[in-house]
Amino acid sequence: MNEITKDLLREISEWDGEFKGAYNIRENGQCAGRMSSKNIKIESKKDQPGLEIFVAPGTKNETVSIPACVTHGNVDDLVYNDFYIGEGADVTIVAGCGIHTETGEPARHNGIHRFFLKKDSKVKYLEKHIGKGHGTGLRYIDPVTEAELEENSVLEMDTAQIGGVDRTTRITAAKLGEGAKLLIRERILTEKQQTAKTDFKVEMNGKDSGVDLISRSVARDDSHQEYHSVIIGNAPCTGHSECDAIISENGKVDAAPELHARDNDAALIHEAAIGKIAGEQILKLRTLGLTEEEAEATIIDGFLA
């Protein structure tokens, strides 16, 4: 494992020289370390690059870390990871990706994750994406997440991409069974000429299923973000999506939320707000002694926290 990978790991995961629990470290498309635990087995896929991760039924309070790092340009990494979460398990998955390039060549990581949550299982999924290095080569991270949630299972996704990634297309799709809950909290900051596109599709097929999708984004400089969400209620269910964006300088944000109620007892709500930082917010913080620049940074940090 090279030094750049170590630096990236510290930022995208809780790595402090070692991981607690099962892990697999992916470095420039290769495995740089792996350990399974008694309840969490990590195996290589046989037909394509990637992993199969099996969490035994009833596993409680364990963590599995699967960070991916690209440490130089001219790498196009594609990986397929499947997570099989056993009945009644309650685990945390720490994903995350760091891209570093010092050259003019592009660097890309494309992680395709599929989650299969059995009845009554619970997963907290943490994903942090960063771009580093001084190279002019574009940094791409294009994650695809697909999830199938069985009866009364819960998937909580907390994702953050705070600058440094030049191009990203995020696709998330989920199908929810009876009583299943999906909670998504996404934060994206783009700057300079960066672009980010995020696309959600959630189908609620089971009675009393629910989704809460909160996306917060900041588009600075000449960056451009697109948000698109589709929430489909095919059963008595609750769906809530919220898209808030702050734009500054020439930043641009397009938001296109869709709600589809296909059952008389589907209750779906969408809230969206796009705008620059409210002048009153800056004034308030200045009356507390902050400069205008400090006030802006505080507002954005809080918004994306």
Binding site: R286, L288, I299
Partner: protein, 241 residues
């Protein structure tokens, strides 16, 4: 001590709002500025805090000329300003906002001290966001807590009673009575409320951009009660609720 000398201000399209206002707020005193709506009270408060820049006149805080200081510099010089309509922030917690006000990280017991002064339980509030989930009464109290955390030489409250319901108002008055009893530094409250006027040391009536009358609270209250015409019916008795 705050001293205003000949302050005038007009809107960008030339409508005179404040005309040659001079006023002194002594150390350790609570001055309530009242008067009819549109008379210039809030504008005066904003000029003191630096949110508006006066067209002419000078402002002194403890004999230091702060006339040309911007908002941030005035905050640093010792002025706090509580907004009439408190600002909401998505993602910023009550704890963070109070720590920004205090200029340092605070342990829970300190946060508890500050929030209990405005009748809030720290445990219940410090991790809540200062967003639209807070009621009008709650955000008003948090706004007051942010200025109390600063221990400023001068604190300006712009119509603390505005935009809250009767029940929140009644307990807010108690909060101000308690703040009054332990007042350090000077305080200005812009208000229409009799119970706020009742705790003042001095009352100033501002109407049509000028000071119409000012004096010790007892004598001013007497005048106001004798003749509403003096105040232009500028304050509301509680019975009106």
């Amino acid at each position: 001590m705050l001293r205003l000398e000949n302050i005038s201000w007009s809107t960008p399209d030339g409508v005179g709002v404040l005309k040659d206002i001079s006023l002194t707020v002594p150390d350790g005193k609570l001055v309530v500025i009242t008067g009819p709506n549109g008379g210039g009270k809030t504008t005066l408060a904003k000029i003191i805090a630096g949110l508006y820049k006066q067209d002419s006149g000078r402002i002194f805080l403890d004999d230091k000329d702060i006339s040309d200081m911007d908002i941030t510099e005035r905050a640093g010089a010792g002025i706090s300003f509580a907004f009439q309509q408190p600002v909401r922030f998505k993602g910023i917690t009550v704890r963070k906002l109070i720590e920004l006000s205090a200029g340092e990280k605070l342990p829970v017991d300190k946060l508890c001290d500050i929030l209990s002064k405005v009748g809030l339980c720290a445990e219940e509030y410090i991790n809540r966001e200062v967003n639209s989930t807070l009621s009008g009464g709650e955000i008003k109290r948090i706004e007051i807590a942010t200025v109390l955390a600063r221990h400023s030489a001068l604190t300006v409250f712009d119509e603390p009673e505005a935009g809250i319901d009767l029940w929140s108002f009644t307990s807010l008055i108690k909060t101000f009575e308690e703040i009054r009893s332990s007042l350090k530094g000077s305080m200005i409250i812009i208000s229409h409320q009799e119970r706020i006027l009742n705790i003042a040391d001095e009352i100033v009536i501002v109407a049509n951009g000028s000071i119409k009358a000012q004096g010790k609270a007892d004598s001013m209250m007497q005048k106001l009660n004798e003749n509403h015409a003096i105040s232009g019916k500028c304050y509301k008795q509680e019975a009106m609720f």
